[in-house]
């Protein structure tokens, strides 16, 4: 269905090709997963399928890409719209119309389908993706997960034979991600759709893949094989695979179910041990929220929230999209005025502080770290942050520790996602605020970058910072958080040690906990430590 024949893509002005000498054959009806470190050329590979590379992006494509027999050299993206559906990383950026049903109809209108066909397909798609209740809603009012499903639906209505998705679940909470993936699997199984999918969150998708394309980056050849074989050696691997490698399971399991069937002996080996993790001594209260009611416009996002953050602890804030996580973070940095209740950060109400004063008490890394960056180069950005904090050289030093080897002359928008997050984090940390807040920090991060982030957060907590991290990433929460708070519909529904909270709920439990349940193991690191001590 998709054929890459010795494809090399070089962008204008780039010294090295983005992808080099890729030969790939994806047969019809296969779900093919594209994995690889950040910046290795996954997006380039995906965009080459429908001809956006090079027709739209420019650059030079050597070799040949054919989809369903059509050569992308002769067919620009618009002429491939009826066989390839492409959903980009930010679904909202690709919306053309203003209402859900119109958006679903847009591709079909372009292709020129008959109105009765459109009606039928829109109803089918609304059901398939669980959008029926949203049909007449303006797109601007949807949550992130809903937007992602609308974006997928809007290309599905054209009944493409190939679906290309760039990180479809990275912005979604675990239940919404499961919904999208279940829908994708149904498309593959029932409609014989060929799916090419890039994803960093392998723990979510590896089990559904028929084959994995591993893009190592740096011009090295891509590796195409069955998931089990690729996972046995790949540098990026989900926890279930890590556990399998640790326990020496063969064949390597990719799903919880397979792993559980092999996990009996491991559970027996771990029977006497208990997860040993040195609890950090909790310090003084750094931030406190009492009976907080807050919201935007006419919506009330928080309905009476109580929460205390102590120095030296990492707290994970979880909950589905729209549960009020970002509102809580916004209230803690004074972006929102409390409608009732009190917010105290470092002893003062944050919304009454002038910005210059506030940054010394609390720092927030927003969902899109790019918002924080506005200088032309990394060096200028660091200098700005140093000037604000009154401590020369600090930002550059922090950045070097978080993400070593960034050239100071680079434009911040040219950095990879992980590097940009590191830069934003360094800027915020330059003022050394005792309270650090992060909103969805693992979007677009590969496992390596995530592990570095986890280490940095643990280190910050050890130095006495209070860290609150809103995230959908249960694996990260299990790895770093001492305490987990779950928000639902603006209220705290769970607040306790991470181990207790995440093992109680199947949607928030990390993979290792699911495999080794009912024993309270959360991460591969826990298990490895216990095994070496045993």
């Amino acid at each position: 269905m998709i054929d890459f024949d010795r494809v090399t893509v070089t962008y204008d002005g780039a010294a090295t090709p983005a992808i080099a000498d890729v030969t790939l054959h994806v047969p019809e009806g296969e779900l093919c997963l594209v994995v690889g470190p950040t910046g290795s050329g996954k997006s380039t590979l995906l965009s080459a399928v429908n001809g956006l590379v090079p027709h739209f992006t420019g650059g030079r494509l050597a070799g040949r890409v054919t989809v369903a027999g059509r050569d992308t050299r002769d067919h620009p993206p618009r002429e491939l719209a009826d066989i390839v559906g492409l959903v980009g990383q930010d679904p909202a950026a690709g919306f053309v119309t203003d209402v859900v049903t119109d958006e679903l109809a847009y591709t079909m209108e372009s292709i020129g389908l008959a109105p009765d066909v459109m009606r039928r397909r829109i109803e089918d798609t609304l059901d398939l993706l669980g959008l029926a209740d949203l049909r007449d809603r303006p797109l601007a009012t949807l949550s992130g997960g809903q937007k992602q499903r609308v974006a997928i639906g809007s290309v599905l209505t054209a009944h493409p034979r190939v679906l290309v998705l760039d990180e479809p679940t990275s912005a979604l909470d675990p239940p919404a991600a499961d919904e999208v993936l279940a829908a994708l699997q149904r498309l593959v199984h029932d409609l014989g759709l060929t799916v090419l999918l890039a994803e960093h969150r392998l723990e979510r998708v590896a089990q559904y893949a028929d084959r994995i394309v591993y893009v190592p980056g740096g011009g090295r050849p891509v590796d195409v094989d069955t998931p089990a074989r690729v996972m046995a050696t790949a540098a990026v691997a989900p926890p279930v695979v890590e556990l399998g490698r640790l326990a020496g399971w063969d064949p390597l399991p990719l799903s919880i179910r397979d792993a559980r069937r092999l996990a009996g002996p491991l559970r027996a080996r771990l029977a006497g041990a208990s997860p040993a993790r040195a609890a950090r001594p909790a310090g003084a209260t750094a931030a406190e929220v009492r009976g907080l009611v807050a919201g935007y416009g006419s919506t009330v996002a928080l309905r009476g929230v109580d929460l205390a953050l102590r120095r030296g602890e990492v707290v994970a804030l979880m909950g589905r999209n729209g549960a009020g996580k970002s509102t809580l973070l916004g209230s803690l940095v004074g972006l929102l005025r409390p409608r009732a209740g009190t917010v105290t950060v470092d002893g003062r109400p944050p919304h009454r502080q002038p910005p210059r004063e506030l940054v010394r008490h609390v720092g927030l890394v927003p969902q899109d770290p790019t918002d924080l960056l506005y200088a032309d180069t990394v060096a200028a950005e660091s200098a700005l942050a140093d000037a604000d904090a009154g401590s020369p050289g600090r930002t550059a030093g922090l950045l070097d520790r978080l993400a070593p080897g960034i050239d100071g002359g680079t434009h911040p928008r040219d950095l990879s996602e992980g590097q940009r997050l590191a830069l934003a984090l360094a800027i915020v940390l330059a003022s050394a605020p005792p309270v650090l807040l992060l909103d969805e920090p693992t979007r677009g991060l590969d496992y390596g970058a995530k592990a570095r982030l986890a280490a940095v957060l643990a280190d910050l907590a050890d130095r006495g910072h209070a860290v609150l991290l809103a995230t959908h990433d249960v694996e990260l929460a299990a790895e770093v958080a001492d305490r987990t708070v779950v928000l639902a519909d603006g209220e705290v529904v769970a607040d306790g040690p991470t181990r207790d909270v995440v093992t109680q709920s199947p949607s928030f439990a990390p993979q290792v906990a699911k495999i080794l349940a009912p024993d309270p193991w959360l991460t591969v690191t826990d298990v490895r430590t216990a095994l070496t001590h045993a």
């Binding site: 492409l86 372009s110 007449d136």
Partner: protein
């Protein structure tokens, strides 16, 4: 009740029908200076808007235009009192006058203000305000997105450009608040002139990135697929449309300019229109696209347009029969009469408030459990 489904099933009325109805009202308003009739027209427009508007952002247009109308009346009265040509009559107020040199005779500043001239100015202002109300009603009732979807196929590209531009505004507002929040997070002032300078760059950068992403998305979703028409046909289409529009412009000028020969105007207009239609039809064939759920034009639409037409006709006829009733005298000042034909015509225009289907948003409201639309009694 035995009504056809097109009257009963909730849906948005065709935006074109609302515009034609509002144009009928506006035509009527432009024919009279009778304040009673003008107030009836404004009230009718307001009543229909209250009954048939949705929760969409543009649905608040009526109130905005109404306020604008009140401002217009005030300005008109103030200007008349200060600079207007004096009308003889009962002096209610004497403003300090400025003596102007003889060469500026005919211009006055200040001086006595009569009841008659204030009334005349208020009538004029009220007419303008009513016209604005009609415009506001059309804006509030007609969904601009759906109106653009009615464009002929050849103008489709232009329509999409307008839709994209319209969706840019709310996104820019979101972007501004995000960047402002980010400035606060960096410890920079988030208000004032200096903050504004820091805001503009990131917002524009974001807008540019979004445009590129949107263009990529539209391209991969089949925007601008050609049905394989040769370049010669495309050029012919462009020439026809352009020539046609030029002809229409020249023709209209000929018709409106009393000194030009009427013989020149009408044929030019007709020929220009024919050329443009030919061009649009030819161009429409180039775009092989279809429309999802085009707005139907059914009974309620005909009825709404008919209401607008009836009002306009009633006023034209009433004006021909008794001009004095539509333009009541101000010197001497009389109580404005109520011409029965025009009043009945104006009141008839309120019918769409009941006889059209209730807006489509009613369905969304049922789903979300919010009451977005008040059901008319």
């Amino acid at each position: 009740m035995g009504l056809p489904a097109s009257f009963v099933v909730p849906r948005g009325l065709h935006p074109g029908a609302w515009w034609l109805w509002a144009l009928g009202l506006a035509t009527a308003a432009s024919r009279t200076r009778n304040p009673v009739l003008l107030l009836i027209i404004a009230a009718v427009a307001g009543c229909v808007v209250a009954a048939r508007r949705t929760e969409a952002p543009w649905a608040r247009a009526y109130a905005t235009f109404l306020k604008l109308g009140l401002v217009v009346i005030a300005i008109r009265v103030v200007l008349q009192s200060l600079f207007g040509l004096p009308l003889p009559g009962h002096v209610v107020l004497t403003l300090p006058a400025v003596d102007l040199p003889s060469w500026a005779a005919g211009v006055r500043i200040g001086g006595p203000v009569t009841r008659e001239e204030i009334t005349a100015a208020a009538y004029d202002g009220l007419r303008l305000a009513t016209l604005l109300c009609c415009l506001g009603a059309a804006n509030a009732l007609a969904n601009p997105f759906r109106l653009l979807r009615c464009l002929p196929g050849a103008l489709y590209e232009a329509g999409v450009a307008v839709v994209v531009a319209m969706s840019f505004a709310p996104q820019a507002v979101t972007a501004v608040s995000r960047v402002r929040a980010a400035r606060r997070l960096r410890g920079r002032p988030d208000r004032g002139i200096r903050a504004l300078r820091g805001l503009a760059m990131p917002v524009l950068e974001g807008a540019l990135e979004r445009s590129v992403a949107l263009a990529a998305s539209m391209d991969s979703r089949g925007y601008g697929r050609s049905a394989g028409l040769p370049a010669r046909t495309r050029r012919l289409t462009a020439a026809l449309v352009l020539g046609g529009l030029l002809g229409v412009c020249a023709g209209t000028y000929g018709l409106l300019d009393a000194s030009a020969s009427g013989l020149l105007g009408l044929p030019l207009l007709a020929a220009g229109a024919a050329l443009a239609v030919a061009g649009l039809t030819l161009g429409g064939r180039r775009v092989s696209r279809t429309r999802y759920r085009p707005d139907p034009w059914a009974g309620p639409e005909w009825l709404t347009v008919a209401c607008g037409l009836v009002v306009a006709t009633a006023f034209v006829v009433a004006g021909a029969r008794s001009p004095a009733a539509l333009a009541p005298a101000v010197a001497p000042l009389v109580v404005p009469p109520l011409p029965p034909l025009a009043a009945a015509g104006a009141l008839l225009a309120v019918l769409p408030a009941w006889l059209t289907p209730s807006p489509a948003a009613a369905r969304a409201a049922v789903h979300t459990g919010q009451s977005a639309v008040r059901e008319p009694a």
